[in-house]
Symmetry: C2
Subunit: 341 residues, 2 copies
């Protein structure tokens, strides 16, 4: 079998506790003792049994990260940021995919993994607002990326403010008929709704008339759906001179179709995305977008979660990350005359 502390203790001629002390870097050990123990550890190839330690301590040193899909670049990059933040704080991340399905999001709240992690970072996408009560779980949890209620810590991006800024950016560039791609009609608190609200807010503030025909639905926020939405819009014949993709994938898909259909970006149509994923730096033209502060979100979320795991019982906290408008080629020039489809 595996070599245990017991074996090491016997070999080093000390007690099991001393071995434990050495392994756990307990400061008050005689150098000579430490050396002997270390030697025994090396000789025997001993490795601490993490599971036993976890059982004993009642903690696992793991946190869960439940997100829609790793193959969505935003979430892959978020996972990356979270893992780095966690590593810097000495904990390990256990990723779970929910496929952005309501059922599976609920499952994640109650899966077997919950007994394996000390807490959960949860990025729900499909959960309905009337289900926020289900978020009142009995373990440490921090919500990511959305505005939902319930007595839970949240770290969110400034969805409304940032999409307002994105839309204003297009307006400042001269756009007057700005399409919004990615709407989820009927939704009352998800990103889609919030970003739509920001879009409406910007239009209203700038006195730019709202035209519902410029709002295009897209359930999943993939490039494919962005491309589809743009095709639909072009086919509809409704004129537009700007596009606000509710995330970069949608915007990049739209960009692709615009190009294919001979619409020049940014000359005929200016385009903005949201998320600032890596890809936005390599599209043709380079995609203007919103940097939602992903690093800050990841670090703050891990910090809040570890604070809860540490036993904090302060009131639920809401942290909104700082965002930035990233102006690249796709919004460099506004167009003055609306363009027909």
């Amino acid at each position: 079998m595996a070599v245990t502390m017991h074996d090491v203790a016997r070999r080093a001629g000390v007690s099991i506790k001393t071995v434990s002390n050495v392994v756990n870097a307990y400061p008050h050990i005689r150098p000579e003792t430490r050396r002997r123990v270390q030697e025994a550890i090396d000789d025997l190839g001993y490795r601490l049994n993490t599971t036993a330690r976890n059982l004993r301590q009642g903690r696992t040193g793991m946190i869960g990260l439940a997100l829609p899909e790793l193959s969505l670049p935003y979430f892959a990059e978020l996972a990356d940021s979270v893992m780095r933040a966690a590593e810097a704080r000495g904990v390990v991340v256990l990723i779970e995919q929910t496929g952005a399905q309501r059922e599976r999001e609920l499952q994640a709240l109650d899966s077997a993994q919950r007994r394996l992690t000390d807490g959960l970072l949860f990025s729900p996408l499909a959960l309905e607002p009337e289900e926020t009560e289900k978020l009142e779980v009995d373990y440490p949890m921090v919500l990511l990326g959305e505005r939902m209620f319930g007595p839970v810590d949240h770290v969110t991006m400034a969805n409304v403010e940032a999409s307002r800024a994105a839309t204003l950016h297009l307006i400042e560039r001269g756009c007057r008929r700005i399409a919004a791609i990615g709407a989820h009609p009927g939704e009352t608190m998800g990103s889609a709704r919030l970003r739509y609200d920001g879009y409406r807010k910007a239009l209203a503030e700038a006195g730019v008339p709202f035209d519902p025909r410029l709002v295009v639905e897209a359930g999943l926020w993939h490039r494919a759906t962005g491309a589809e939405a743009m095709s639909t819009l072009l086919d509809s014949g409704v004129p537009f001179d700007g596009v606000f993709g509710m995330n970069d994938a949608l915007a990049l898909g739209a960009l692709h179709v615009l190009h294919a259909r001979g619409v020049s970006v940014p000359h005929d149509v200016a385009v903005m995305g949201f998320d600032d994923v890596d890809d936005a730096r390599y599209s043709e033209p380079l995609l203007s977008t919103i940097d939602p502060g992903r690093e800050q979100i990841a670090q703050t979320a891990v910090d809040l979660l570890l604070d809860r795991i540490g036993g904090s019982t302060v009131e639920p906290r809401r942290v909104v990350a700082e965002f930035q408008v990233v102006a690249r080629e796709s919004s460099m020039l506004g167009r003055l005359v609306p363009q027909g489809g």
Copy 2:
């Protein structure tokens, strides 16, 4: 504290063992007993303590997946596939990023997480061939995506054959001066070397002369480095009419620069990638590429690993996934006359 089997047993008026039997779906239990126990479980909100079970059973039900970076789309998609395959088989995946750094890859082989997982799926990128001995670990391991030696199970893509096919595809389209982007000079067994070998093989077989000036280095296989490599190539003035990007990211980066510099794809230059990531379906033009059989790789790798975890001691196995040439727009037309830079 948390409710234990003990509490459930007392409440149901049975012994701990009976509760355990119910929880573990042991067949021979009187329906009445089962009902009483189940009721107690529900009333108390009992949840099995996975850590305790793990300690007792000597297994954790988790497998590690060590890969370079989640923000590289190929690996994000691979992780997705692996997690699905694992879930279907009832195990959980613990992802670790190595940043494609030799040091961190070695660390992954020996990290604390190794005591937390029953085995490891390892996708090394930076490890040197003379270090294959380090892969002789004392826990179940399956290597992914590379050809390395040592007595270890491997699941790999057909790097040489597939890149040969990709190059032949370009040759069939009329290309005679095909640049290869992504080389790692000096490497002897990594993907870069293997794909380069396939490229050389295709040229030789088709009687197309090899010109070393057409081989461009690129350390990291990101879009940015692909873009850089293409700029370098164009600046060099060496004529070419085809590009084989050793992965899609490199090819997409190259595509971007070609477009920006006014070189028409596929009219002036045909382009092939490798990996068939999602993005290849949304570039302008659509990127031709190699589908390396990622699903098959993920499923086979998980199966092999679980087999080892189950105690199999058969000889190390090598599985090579089936690949496919995916011809899209970027290689639709060959060009007949070489083009100057």
